[in-house]
Symmetry: C2
Subunit: 143 residues, 2 copies
């Protein structure tokens, strides 16, 4: 758990506490590459410590999201997924509303958009992790 020390610092600086429950949730998020739902995280943490409450998981995720340590993304399947924010390799998703296929979108598209909005209006957008819906090339042909 030594790799969490930096995160613990961030929590404390912002007036939050580093509790065992939180460290377990953090660990579940950090050591899993993919997108996890709140339920997934709950299950993982419960293996180690069966007394956690699901509401603790939700509240912790809300705190982490506020601190921008995790991103929250609606993947269109009805459930919200959470992912640890990494500095490198940011990515977004193109989700087809017909066939449900998911493609990746490189960050530079949204980075450019963000820079443009910032310089025009002064508003600094959080474009960490977007899910963009639409029609993939195949499904456009099918129509």
């Amino acid at each position: 758990m030594s790799c969490e020390t930096e995160t613990v610092q961030v929590l404390r600086q912002r007036g939050h506490k580093a509790t065992p429950q939180r460290l377990m949730i953090l660990s579940a998020l950090r050591h899993d590459a993919g997108h996890l739902t709140a339920g997934d995280i709950f299950d993982k943490v419960r293996v180690e410590y069966p007394y956690v409450d699901i509401s603790t998981v939700y509240r912790t995720l809300a705190v982490l999201k506020e601190l921008r340590l995790v991103t929250e993304t609606d993947m269109g399947t009805g459930d919200t997924t959470y992912e640890w924010v990494r500095q490198q390799g940011r990515h977004h998703h193109l989700i087809c509303r017909d066939c449900g296929s998911v493609a990746s979108l490189d960050d530079h598209y949204l980075e450019d958009l963000g820079a443009e909005i910032m310089s025009d209006s002064g508003f600094k957008p959080d474009l960490d992790h977007f899910a963009i819906f639409g029609l993939c090339a195949n499904c456009q042909k099918a129509t």
Copy 2:
């Protein structure tokens, strides 16, 4: 209700029915400029016809969204809002995560992004109505 005839055509062409409940929901959406939540629409329709079920409202909104007659937008306050799609005057929102202020964003920013994604990957994104979170100019100074 004569102004709904065009919408009724769209519904029928796509194999859907124009029921009184739907017409009332449509009417509520068309004659209200702002963003309405499912609950708002439910309340409005219930004034005219008290026997509608909330699930009918949700299912109708899902159909209208699929037909792209309405947009669904999460305004960050925890509730999802719906808005009638107009051809002219599309707009997006810049929502400050600190003070909650909402600014409008002209469509051309996202139109350009959409065109770029389309020509690079063949994916045709639905960029009808976006809510972009971030920090407004004032709140950036405050930090």
